[in-house]
Symmetry: C2
Subunit: 305 residues, 2 copies
């Protein structure tokens, strides 16, 4: 099956620790790479994950807190030193370009390639990236500042030709695209050969939802309904529920509740507060609500399937 996976570069929260880097992850869809959030140290984690910088064209920033974007300057600068020529797109809420421009003009001037900032509206879900086989839409979240998650959805693919059947019925080559698109084949004698005989449907489209940072926010349930893998922040345990509310973060139990209600296939939790020496308490609390949960780990890759 075509590659669709997520590699965690950092799953800590605002304070980086010796255990967790600040937020960043890479979505690998058919060897095109997309970075989601870019905390300090992202470029180094990217290297450690043995990913190829040249495969990256788009970066999605959820919100303008430092732990989600302080790695951008280093990344952009390094690409310049490496002689990158391909355009780089940074999708972010309003304001990032203005705040970064003085530093970019000073430190990265000239640059061997162009950086384009693409503003998106955090108040509504909208399509912000699309290619032949993938689309990315935003998921409005509830945080202390404008913030959005991202839904990566594979597009519905074309039918797969069943080679033996096509040979058996002597279907000419020029009919193949019609078959893939779902049409029946009509023989020179006028016989109708059903498409279902000649093709198999494409695999069901897969989807990955990233929701961080956010308070418990039920309106996202409809947007991420049935997705194959949900990354949801779980900054706190139940014992810090009040603090979670105050800071617009979620508990592990709340993350699991969203997963349950949205009927997702798998839940991955992250954005862990530095206060937990290990995250087993978060896993246990999430598991009590939703059965299929994993704890995010730096440099580990999770397959969307």
């Amino acid at each position: 099956m075509d590659k669709f996976e997520v590699t965690i570069l950092g799953c800590g929260s605002a304070l980086p620790t010796t255990k967790h880097n600040q937020t960043s992850q890479v979505v690998n869809f058919r060897d095109k790479l997309f970075i989601i959030d870019c905390g300090e140290g992202t470029q180094l984690q990217f290297r450690k994950a043995k990913l190829k910088f040249s495969r990256l064209g788009h970066i999605f920033i959820s919100h303008l807190h430092g732990d989600h974007c302080f790695g951008l300057m280093g990344l952009i600068s390094t690409f310049g030193l490496l002689g990158r020529t391909a355009d780089l797109y940074i999708h972010a809420p309003k304001g990032l370009e203005a705040v970064m421009k003085p530093a970019l003009d000073f430190f990265c001037n000239p640059l061997s390639y162009q950086v384009f900032f693409k503003e998106y509206d955090t108040k509504k879900s909208s399509l912000i990236y699309e290619d032949r086989s993938l689309q990315v839409t935003t998921i409005p979240l509830k945080h202390r500042m404008p913030c959005s998650g991202f839904l990566f959805q594979e597009k519905i693919g074309l039918n797969h030709i069943i080679r033996e059947q096509v040979d058996f019925y002597n279907v000419p080559t020029y009919e193949m695209n019609r078959l893939k698109a779902g049409f029946d084949y009509i023989t020179p004698d006028g016989e109708v050969i059903s498409n279902a005989v000649l093709t198999k449907p494409a695999a069901l489209p897969r989807s990955y939802a990233y929701c961080s940072d956010t308070a418990y926010n039920p309106p996202i349930i409809e947007l991420i309904k049935g997705c194959d893998l949900l990354f949801h922040e779980a900054t706190f345990a139940n014992s810090e529920k009040v603090r979670a509310n105050q800071t617009y973060h979620s508990t592990a139990e709340q993350a699991a509740t969203i997963a349950l209600k949205a009927e997702v296939k798998q839940l991955l939790i992250g954005h862990f507060s530095a206060r937990y020496p290990n995250e087993n308490i978060l896993l246990t609390e999430a598991n009590a609500i939703f059965p299929i949960v994993e704890i995010a780990e730096e440099l580990k890759t999770y397959v969307v399937e």
Copy 2:
């Protein structure tokens, strides 16, 4: 002896690798900490070195290339999250405050403490920090942009009282400060007891010089003459001497030549180009000129003695 040591946080050059972080180091002088340069990831390396943020009051930036200052935003922001109240001073060439201000105003506002930028002139050697027992002066370097090294010099200490002698001659307590300052003691009978009988001279003042980034630059020799430990950049091996010249960096041999001519006690080389899988070639080439050389290593501490 009072603590005077240097911990390397990063000794790579512009491109961070899985082996080397970007430039940063910490001088620990009697448990006061000073950061020299602050590449991306400095705050995390600082934590890994198990140093205390609260002991840090001054940061010295050699020049305004990204690999020497991209870690500042994260560090300043983290101090804010930790509720720091003590002032933080950043000593840097002209321009840093202007280029950082928009990001500081956006990401670190409000901040629980004050950040003061102190500009220094990279064209001449000048005193930029002083306390009772330490002074820091700049060392003008030769790089592609205004750049300066730093000389950390212990001040000459007071004499040490020899307890048994003082007791033997019945020197009253109120005379002690005079003795420490080098005066003789005159007994009530008018007998002169030489200071040399009553005290030992303080240890020789120690010094540490940091010279990075720089081309081979003989004028610094006078400024760092006889220092106990010299950190000198050695970005390239001899085979890249032309490239070293073009980029205003030094070869290991040039670093060693400076060490030899300045008659320093020990040389520590760093700022390694990412092209060397290991730095033995640099060590060998430096060693051919100067006998006491070490290769900088991340999180290793070097004593100034």
